[in-house]
Subunit: 103 residues, 2 copies
DNA sequence: CGGCATCCTTACAGATACTG
DNA sequence: CAGTATCTGTAAGGATGCCG
């Protein structure tokens, strides 16, 4: 009961899932790449969300020593375990849309 | 990709999952019962959330012709299909808590 | 009992500009 | 490139009181 709330806290907001999906799909992804992948997000939001995901150990931030510097984000093993949930939510979302919208 | 967002929209906020869990556990539940089950929620919020859940056809509101009137909330078949997701989220939440808090 | 109306405070989030 | 800083509007959400 508290557990389910913990999960929702980690995934809350509009952006977490799209961000994770982006990184997951490309395996590793840079800040500006994600900024383009996730439609409508601002750099301010992306920055904040990435920080939260990092704190929750779902992603890893790696600074590349280039000029100018680039930063790569990858999923941790723990982050990858979200795949199941994302799939579940996707399936349910499709069913739900059929039920509600598709009448 | 949009599908997963649809799901999150339906389950957004702090309260939807706890409310559904309450109704699910007791099978049917009254307004004031849920108010007690879900810790910290205000009647204003509960009222709003229940409406949204009803619009999304996850729960059904039934007025009992008693004096004073009582109102019962039950899950629809569609609402019951959330059980899997809730279970997944619960499992993941437990793992997550072990990983993050329990170090 | 089961809400709705009102007021009010805070958190969320967009736009824009700026920095190392 | 990868963010921070600031400013601001909106909406979420709590407290309280009232009503059928």
């Amino acid at each position: 009961m508290r557990a389910v709330q913990d999960s929702m806290d980690v995934l809350n907001g509009k952006w977490k899932i799209p961000i994770i999906s982006s990184i997951c799909y490309y395996n590793k992804r840079r800040f500006s790449d994600i900024l383009h992948d996730v439609e409508g997000i601002s750099n301010r939001m992306l920055s904040k969300e990435l920080k939260e995901l990092e704190i929750n150990q779902l992603i890893v931030r790696t600074i590349q020593d280039t000029q100018p510097i680039t930063v790569e984000y990858t999923l941790t093993d723990h982050g990858k375990t979200l795949q199941t949930i994302i799939n579940n939510l996707t399936d349910w979302g499709i069913q739900h849309r059929k039920k509600i919208v598709g009448r």
